[in-house]
Amino acid sequence: MEPAVALSDIEAAPVTSTASPAVDSSRLTHLQRLEAESIHIMREVAAEAERPVMLYSVGKDSAVMLHLAVKAFYPSRPPFPFLHVDTTWKFREMIAFRDRMARELDLELLVHTNPDGLAQGIGPFSHGSAVHTDVMKTAALKQALNLYGFDAAFGGARRDEEKSRAKERVFSFRSAEHRWDPKNQRPELWSLYNARKHRGESIRVFPLSNWTELDIWQYIHLENIPIPQLYFAAERPVVERDGTLIMVDDDRMPLKPGETPQMRSVRFRTLGCYPLTGAVESTASTLPEIIQEMLLTTTSERQGRVIDHDQAASMEKKKQEGYF
């Protein structure tokens, strides 16, 4: 069992580059244009929504979104709370990191866990990934949005992640039941977003729509944005199941006969519930090395997520049901 990561270890990798100069002698770079667009989107929501919230999942996309939110409203604090849907199965380091960010940036952090799922003891080992995700993630998110009456929720999804996401609007409308109707989304022209809605309806807003995975990593690198250490390679206790390396993050993980956690140098390309998140063997311990590995790798990042394999167009189906 690896000891819990000390807070002091959770730092961004050493970075030598400095942020790009604000006014380049030539044109704005693609990252500057993406940053300005994301900030524009966040300010529109802050100005037009009654009760916005930013979903904070502790991952790298959330880290970038949080960083952009701080920039967008500076010197004000982001004028909305941050919501983490905690399935209780997240990596322990994610929770420590989340609490540290909230403290350091003086954020209003809300944490929600589905009390029904908790009472029934829903978990990925006992109930499988589908039930766990449905109850502890999808249902929990809807509960939290209803509980606090949020009418706009920022999410970190990107259009390059998956095919059905490529058609997602920046402002994605959900019915009062949080359902997404692909045929009933509003055209988005120029940088004009129509944020009007009826009572009970809500908007999911994706300020990172036009970012790619490489953009995210490069921006983290340039802006020196803190991310959990789990993204960097380290010796961690893992077992191999169905070809996937699962980190034994706590003693709730039932080991099968013959399974013994082994220390391997691994890292994670996405973060989520530890039993559902595959590790990759790696020695990349700095951001440039991570980016290098990502660029040379031959599988897409969502492959580490268990839910996408289920069936063709599964993401589209999940979205219609209210999954982010």
Binding site: H30, H40, F73, A166, T298, S300
Partner: protein, 635 residues
């Protein structure tokens, strides 16, 4: 994901530095169904090594299952995202794809070719710097090619490539290519598309996409990727006068008051004089605030927060502009409208108009003509249906700062929003301001509304009765006026049938005419209220939007909405004028409650339930409500 480069493995830091300085090009691809758009985009992604092994293996298995290329890789499957369209085999929405090369990052809007989806094409084109228009070499310039080209031109895209696709299927025949180019050149000239680059390609085989085709030795121009990499990204915006719409007022505490927005044009430096529009107040830029630190200057495209030297009243939607070169302000425009909703545009109906960070109420006063995008003919039109384009006069309830769309997309492009459904129903491009409103000033009179009301010892109001035909509006209105008159009030009753005999006798019962009918009545009622009268109106007035329009014409408290609430079954059973019977038999069209909707008021000042209240009691209830609020005016 990125393209592969030797630098990635050898010197990742050098690669990152290079990538960091890449520019961004947004472009759209458009073409008719089966012109091979999706295949082309799939090919661009594939050739720039944007496809991972897992995606590739999924693609290979999909190609075998549902592919149209006889087991060969079907690139179109890479980009046809939604399950529904995979089954139908057509693209039904705008999809955005990403790839990059050594020098540039690209965002592609994949816009549908199907005729009824003009709306999506306009959406994709609105953010594009360049366009790739696909033509099937076997088919040449089609109606849809013309439509797409017209829209590309309309939306202000200046860089156009004409990709003549499927050249392999015409044996790379140069004469066929030249004929298509000549044909297209004629058309391009007609729509004012000054320049385009024609490239013979085969998306399926990958010829002239990222590498020169060996089959087209007669073609020595750029391949498609070279063209995409060489298109000049328009940065001349920063040479224009400074403009920034204020999105958000940044007030963390009493000591800081900043104005946040994305710069739409020009360059701003601390110390610059700026003018606030529409108010016209001038001040000086004190700081350009960003994280991690203040800037000396900021340019078009950047999102910043400005602080100003003076305390000036500025709110969301105002525009900060170079003081020596401010932008114009107007409340009437001629604009090109692209209609995007199933429910047609009705002239006279109020919509919300969003331009920059400002939302106002607007209505189309006149459709000057509808453009047939296939023939470029201009036809007269009374309405605009889904996917139709028209040149219209638009009237706003307040003046807004603007520039023509051809000058600046962000300051001259707007959307129209339906006030009830909240849907985005139209996109507009400002051509120019109409000066008419400047010449017609409200004539100031020394005797005003207050003076006229005081002489009558009453407050002028409109008592607006709304409800189904046969609900009892006219009966109740008549009783209300009699009672008010008996109380010594100065009144006037505007009744539906009477008005249609004179003022509105040119109007029929189509939705547009009904909107205009109510607009005129509201304007007449407004003049009467100005005269100090209590006006009672009895009209079905089925649409919330028009009643809201009437309410907004008047001052707070002057509009009293009375909902004569009668269930349709009860009204139909009464059928005093025999109209329901006619409507049911089909002899009467657009009859409210039968084949035209009635939108009940959300929050009427007074609601009369006629199933529980007699006409006399209803009139009493209304008069009591009014007299209870007249205390201030009674001598």
């Amino acid at each position: 994901m990125a393209h592969q480069s030797a630098l990635i493995a050898e010197d990742i830091e050098a690669y990152l530095t290079a990538h960091q300085h890449k520019s961004l090009l947004r472009f759209i691809t458009c073409g008719s169904v089966d012109d091979g758009k999706s295949t082309l985009i799939g090919r661009l992604l594939y050739d720039s090594k944007m496809i991972f092994e897992d995606q590739l293996s999924a693609l290979e298995s999909d190609s075998r299952k549902v592919g149209t290329q006889g087991g060969e890789i079907d690139f179109a499957l890479l980009v046809d995202g939604l399950a529904a369209e995979r089954e139908q085999g057509i693209t039904i929405d705008v999809a955005y794809r990403f790839f990059s090369t050594e020098t540039r990052k690209f965002i592609v809007a994949d816009t549908p070719g199907h005729e009824q989806y003009t709306r999506n094409m306009v959406t994709g084109a609105s953010t594009a710097d360049a366009a790739v228009i696909l033509i099937d070499a076997r088919k040449g310039v089609l109606t849809q090619t013309r439509r797409h080209s017209y829209l590309v031109k309309l939306l202000g895209i200046r860089h156009v490539a004409l990709a003549v696709n499927k050249m392999d299927l015409v044996g790379w025949d140069q004469a066929a290519f030249d004929a298509i180019v000549a044909d297209y050149t004629d058309f391009a000239r007609k729509i004012g598309l000054d320049a385009f680059t024609a490239i013979p390609i085969s998306g399926l085989m990958g010829d002239n996409i990222t590498a020169q085709s060996t089959d087209s030795e007669w073609y020595s121009g750029l391949n498609l990727m070279q063209w995409l990499e060489s298109v000049e990204v328009d940065d001349d915006l920063r040479e224009r006068p400074f403009r920034m719409p204020v999105q958000w007022v940044n007030r963390p505490n009493l000591d800081f008051r900043g104005f946040s927005g994305q710069i739409a044009a020009g360059t701003v430096r601390s110390g610059d004089r700026v003018k606030v529009l529409p108010s016209g107040r001038e001040t000086t830029v004190a700081r350009i605030v960003t994280l991690p630190g203040d800037l000396d200057a900021a340019v078009a495209g950047q999102s910043v927060t400005l602080t100003l030297a003076d305390e000036v009243d500025i709110s969301r939607g105002d525009i900060l502009a170079a003081a020596q070169d401010p932008l114009p302000v107007a409340n009437q425009f001629e604009a090109t409208l692209v209609w995007m909703d199933d429910h047609a545009l009705s002239p006279g109906r109020p919509y919300l108009l969003k331009i920059g960070a400002r939302t106002v109420t607007a209505s189309v006063t006149d459709i000057k003509h509808r453009v047939n995008v296939n023939t470029l003919e201009e036809n007269a039109a009374k309405r605009l249906e889904l996917n139709e384009i028209g040149v219209c006069n638009i009237n706003l309830d307040q003046a807004v700062p603007f520039e023509s769309y051809s000058e600046n997309r962000d300051l001259g492009g707007f959307i129209l929003i339906d006030r009830l459904s909240n849907r985005t129903v139209g996109a507009g491009l400002i051509r120019f301001a109409l000066r008419r409103s400047d010449n017609i000033h409200w004539q100031h009179t020394d005797v005003d509304k207050t003076a006229r009301s005081a002489l009558k010892s009453q407050k002028g109001r409109v008592v607006w009765l709304t409800g189904l035909s046969g609900a009892g509006k006219s009966t109740i209105a008549n009783l209300v006026e009699k009672r008010l008159h008996a109380n010594g009030r100065h009144t006037y009753l505007l009744d539906g049938d009477n008005v249609r005999h004179g003022l509105n006798k040119d109007l029929g019962f189509t939705e547009e005419d009904r909107v205009e009918n109510i607009r005129r009545i509201a304007e007449v009622a407004k003049l009467m209220v100005d005269a100090g009268l209590i006006v009672v109106t009895a009209f079905i007035s089925p649409f919330r939007a028009e009643r809201q329009l009437a309410r907004e014409l008047l001052s707070e408290g002057e509009f009293v909405e009375v909902f004569i609430d009668t269930p349709i079954a009860v009204a139909e059973a009464r059928d005093v004028k025999g109209l329901y019977a006619k409507a049911r038999s089909g002899a009467l069209k657009n009859f409210t409650g039968v084949d035209s909707p009635y939108e009940a008021p959300d929050k009427p000042e007074i609601r009369i339930d006629t199933t529980a209240t007699s006409a006399v009691e209803a009139a009493e209830q209304i008069v009591d409500w009014l007299e209870g609020r007249e205390a201030d005016y009674t001598i």
